[in-house]
Assembly symmetry: C2
Homo-oligomer: 341 residues x 2
Amino acid sequence: MTRKRNANRNAGAPTLADVARLAGMSEITVSRVVRNQGPIADATRTRVLAAISQLGYIPNRAAGSLASAASTLITVLLPSLSNIVFPDVLRGIHTAITETGFQSVIGVTDYDPLIEERILLSFLAWQPAAVILAGLHHTPTARKHLEQGRFRVAELMDIDGDPVDIAVGMSHRQAGYETGRHLIERGYRRFGYAGHMLISDDRAKARYQGLCEALREAGLSLVGEMRVPGGGSTIAGRELLEKLLAAHTDLDVVIFPNDDMAMGGIFYCIHAGIVIKERLGIFGFNGLDIGQAMPLPLSTILSKRFLIGKTAAEKLLESRERPPEKTIINTGFDIIEGATA
Amino acid sequence: MTRKRNANRNAGAPTLADVARLAGMSEITVSRVVRNQGPIADATRTRVLAAISQLGYIPNRAAGSLASAASTLITVLLPSLSNIVFPDVLRGIHTAITETGFQSVIGVTDYDPLIEERILLSFLAWQPAAVILAGLHHTPTARKHLEQGRFRVAELMDIDGDPVDIAVGMSHRQAGYETGRHLIERGYRRFGYAGHMLISDDRAKARYQGLCEALREAGLSLVGEMRVPGGGSTIAGRELLEKLLAAHTDLDVVIFPNDDMAMGGIFYCIHAGIVIKERLGIFGFNGLDIGQAMPLPLSTILSKRFLIGKTAAEKLLESRERPPEKTIINTGFDIIEGATA
DNA sequence: GCGTTTTATGGTAGCGCTGTCATTATTCTT
DNA sequence: AAGAATAATGACAGCGCTACCATAAAACGC
């Protein structure tokens, strides 16, 4: 039977036992060398390492995970990959884990908490060492599993709420608020908003609310507001601004939920001969490089995506066990003055 | 001993045996229901499913992988996450696998074949169902493992070469060549190249060579050429074009290795008052949305990144076994006429 | 109606590794 | 120098699942 079984296996792929035999050591010693764990005599380590490289041994992680009830996998659930923000976060995560032996398994939730829940459950089957997801808002089932699991949890981007374990991000409500204050101070009074319809993009919603609050405090309110269906791209921003200005000719500044859309707005102004900043201010969010490379650098808010990902992953790996108190790390944001508002 | 061991485990997480007991079935039957495999009576399936949801059973993939010597993981090795191209590819991959139960493990190689090799070996420890990587150029060790492994392999982006199993992409050499032909036909004669120094970016190199070949055939050659250190961004493109034009005042067209840099070039022209197209043509590569949203849409080549990722993943999952003949899928490219060259 | 195939289910032995508990050198105290 | 601590190694069971083979029951063929 054993023979039959092996037929379907990686033809003769060497196992711990093979290495042990060749090195003249017990399996457990080889295992310790591989995992760099426990006290090992230098001579032993050398011998084992030699046997490993001679055989081309690759440890079987499935067996290891099963035996130890823990894996080296980190589950990463991102709302989207189209929005450059999340690849940046992912890049930060990878920068932090690259030398640690941890590996990331990626899921894309499409901003949908139900999809997030489904993917989360299927990923928990790997007994991950940590779970990283976006935002603090999850389904009750997802939240329950996150709370009860034997793994670390980092919730990224947002810090306005109660995290399961670690939250790393910024206050989007505050960012929206300060956007409003900043523009009011610069003399803008007739505000427009050109958004998108990702109702599950809690961050964009929080910024919007913060903005409205700043306006309200100053006795102002949004004069005009429009949204495109879907996620919002540069082209969408361009077309949307045209429509918004057609409906509200007297706007003096328009805020976009992200830089991509804001750049579309700028392109529309150039096309339509509208003098940016004097006649119409444009304000974005994210602080993308490309916006800053433009002849008129985009006025926007720099969100520290890479830093968020990197910080979260580092923090996560500090300890295997979840500490008693929750951690909230505010990476903050910078207002980029720019030349468009 | 068993008790001690369980102490460290997921406290009482239900196992197949628990489900089997509750459903009054054998473990193997439950396993079959979970995997949707083999003939199961409807009544049995219903009962098992009820028990699963009652217990909140989550299968242990590590155990499954160990027993079957196969996993549902797909290893994805990308050169970079900064370059928007690769998140697009990843998005395509995820679109294809999202409903299949397969999951992606991501590694970032930084365009370095040695890093690629190291990550590949560490990922093979999971006995992945498939490996997806960029390009056809790998270390001998990596190539050997790819060839001998019991998993499918897809090499993306490039098709100029001999793949291990499946290649999906386009001919970058041809893209470069056609860029040259296209611009020569439009009357350009004094060519400049503003590149970067990613020597391991084989695709950019192939396009460069194709371009040179087209010029050579027409009795031309590059008048001026410069490269920035590192990967090349919009800002780098902007600064590089300034330098290149300072050194070669008589260029009538400049080709960039990607749209990001080309847009930087456009921004420099706007800034310096250079009339784009008439006085200086600008040509990119990738066909990013943002380039097409600009007042003067960028002249460039559309690479079908999303399609490449999606096609590769679909093809990969068609069959578990590697077929005897290799597959090469040419997704082609489109020349976008644009307004900048 | 009796063999033959198909459908549905189960028993059992591992998969390759690591946790737990020993055990035996070796070094350190005072 | 005797006891105590530490360093280095090993035996062995078992993690939770699935491949393999077996078996029983139902459907089929002529």
